[in-house]
C-alpha cells in the first residue's frame, strides 16, 4: 500500500514508494530506498513537502499474521510439485522468511543451505518452527526490511 505523507512526518526506516525528484528532474532519492534522518533534512532543504512511502505500519499484528498465513498456504500449493528440489525449496523458504519480515533468518538459512557441510541438514529440522504462526518478537519487528545502518 502506498501512502503519501508530509516530509515532516517521515520516519527513518520507511521505504520510498516513489522516487523523489526536483522540479528540474534531478533525482534526490530512488524508489525503494530507505528514509534516513539525513534524507529527511535534505528534502526539507530542497522544499519537498510530501513523499510516498510503502505503508506497512498501517497493518495490525493480526493483519500481518493473516497475510503471512495466506502466503504460506498459497506457497504450499504453488510449490507442490517441486518440493523435492533443494534449490526451489530454498526459494520457498526465502519467501516465507521475507513474508515474516525476517531477513536475517532468511540470510542465515540460505548461507547454511549453501554450505556443503552436513550441518546444512540442521536447518531443515527448524522447519516446523518457522512455519508456525509468528513468534512474539516478530510483532515488534514487523516494520523491518534490511536495516540500512
Amino acid at each position: 500500500m502506498v501512502k503519501r505523507i508530509a516530509v515532516d512526518l517521515a520516519k527513518p526506516g520507511q521505504v520510498l514508494a516513489e522516487q523523489i525528484a526536483r522540479q528540474d528532474g534531478v533525482l534526490l532519492a530512488s524508489q525503494g530506498s530507505e528514509v534516513s534522518d539525513a534524507l529527511i533534512r535534505m528534502l526539507q532543504r530542497q522544499n519537498i513537502d510530501s513523499i510516498a512511502i510503502e505503508e506497512d505500519e498501517g497493518r495490525t499484528f493480526e493483519e500481518i499474521q493473516a497475510a503471512y498465513q495466506a502466503d504460506v498456504t498459497r506457497m504450499n500449493e504453488a510449490f507442490i510439485r517441486v518440493e523435492a528440489d533443494p534449490i526451489l525449496h530454498a526459494l520457498k523458504k526465502t519467501l516465507i522468511f521475507m513474508s515474516m519480515q525476517e531477513r536475517d533468518k532468511a540470510l542465515a538459512y540460505l548461507e547454511l543451505s549453501e554450505s556443503p557441510s552436513p550441518e546444512a541438514k540442521d536447518s531443515d529440522s527448524e522447519e516446523a518452527k518457522e512455519e508456525e504462526p509468528f513468534a512474539k518478537e516478530v510483532t515488534l519487528n514487523s516494520q523491518k526490511r534490511g536495516k540500512g545502518k
Binding site: G25, G32, A78, I80, L91, L110, S113
Partner: protein, 283 residues
C-alpha cells in the same frame, strides 16, 4: 487413443498453422522493422514514426518510466527513450504496448504475469551484472505471447486446457500438450516467425520451459526461465496455472547462481512488483 482425438489434434495444428490470420503484426512494428532495414535511417526518424501514434507513445513512455527500469530521470519523449534504453528495448516496448489489449483480453492475469516476469528478468540480469538487462526484460515481457494466440484463436481448445489444469492439477503447458500436442512455447515461435521478431526474442518464447536447449542466447533463456519460476512463486499474476514449474539445472548453472542470490534478488524485485501494479491498466 480414439481417432477423433487424433483428428482433432491434427486439425488444431492445422488451425494454428493457418493462423496466418494469426494476429497480424501490429502495423507500427512492421513499419519500424521496414524503415530500420535502411541503414540510413536515423534515431530521430524512428522516434518520429513512433511518436506519430500518441496513444502508443504514451503507453511506451509509461513503461519506460515505470519501476522496470528505475530511471533516475524522467524519460519524456520517444527519442529520449531510444537514446537511453536503446532501439531494441523501445521496439520491444512498442510491440508490447500494441499487443497489450490483446494480452489483457485473452487471459485474466496474463498481463500481470508478463510484467512480473519482465521485472524479475531485469532484476536477475542486473544482479548478475549484465549490461543487457533491459533487453532481457523485454524477452521476459513477451515470453508467453503464445498463450494469447491460443486464447484468441483456439478458444475451444483453451477451454479444454483450462479444464484439465483445474481438474488434473497439471501445468498449463502439460495440459496444452495433452489437448493440442504442442504448447504456447511452440505457438510463440510461430508467431515470432510470422512477425519477424529477432531470434533473440523468439528463443526465450520457444524455450523458457527448456532453456537447456538454447543456442543463440542461452543466458537469456535461463534468466526468463528462472524469472518465470520466481514470478509464480510470488503468486504475481496468473499464467494459466498457479504452480511453480521445475527448475532446469542447466539454466541455474549457466548463470552461476547460488541459493544465497535469492535474497538480494527478491529484495530488489518486491518493491518493483508493488509499484508495477500501476501498469496493470496501461490506458
Amino acid at each position: 487413443m480414439p481417432p477423433t482425438v487424433i483428428q482433432d489434434r491434427i486439425s488444431a495444428k492445422k488451425e494454428v498453422r493457418r493462423i496466418k490470420n494469426l494476429p497480424t503484426v501490429p502495423g507500427i512494428v512492421a513499419k519500424i522493422s521496414r524503415i530500420v532495414e535502411n541503414p540510413e535511417t536515423s534515431v530521430a526518424e524512428v522516434g518520429r514514426l513512433i511518436s506519430q501514434d500518441q496513444v502508443l507513445s504514451a503507453k511506451v513512455l509509461r513503461m519506460a518510466n515505470s519501476a522496470f527500469f528505475g530511471m533516475s530521470r524522467k524519460i519524456n519523449t520517444i527519442p529520449q527513450a531510444l537514446i537511453i534504453l536503446g532501439f531494441e528495448v523501445v521496439k520491444g516496448l512498442v510491440l508490447t504496448s500494441s499487443v497489450f489489449d490483446m494480452i489483457q483480453k485473452s487471459m485474466a492475469g496474463l498481463w500481470e504475469h508478463s510484467i512480473g516476469c519482465a521485472a524479475a528478468s531485469g532484476v536477475i540480469a542486473a544482479h548478475l551484472g549484465r549490461d543487457d538487462a533491459e533487453e532481457v526484460l523485454v524477452a521476459g515481457l513477451l515470453h508467453d505471447l503464445g498463450k494469447v494466440v491460443l486464447a484468441l484463436n483456439l478458444p475451444e481448445e483453451m477451454r479444454l486446457v483450462k479444464e484439465k489444469v483445474e481438474n488434473e492439477h497439471l501445468y498449463f503447458y502439460e495440459a496444452e500438450n495433452q489437448v493440442l500436442d504442442f504448447d504456447h512455447a511452440e505457438i510463440g515461435q510461430w508467431l515470432a516467425e510470422h512477425w519477424n521478431l529477432p531470434e533473440s526474442l523468439a528463443e526465450p518464447m520457444r524455450l523458457h520451459h527448456k532453456p537447456e536447449k538454447a543456442v543463440l542466447k542461452p543466458e537469456w533463456c535461463a534468466i526468463v526461465h528462472i524469472a518465470d519460476i520466481i514470478t509464480r512463486a510470488k503468486g504475481f499474476g496468473n499464467a494459466g496455472d498457479m504452480m511453480v514449474p521445475p527448475l532446469s539445472m542447466a539454466a541455474w548453472e549457466i548463470l552461476g547462481l547460488k541459493k544465497t542470490d535469492f535474497l538480494p534478488i527478491m529484495e530488489k524485485l518486491e518493491p518493483k512488483l508493488n509499484s508495477l501494479k500501476d501498469l496493470t491498466a496501461l490506458n
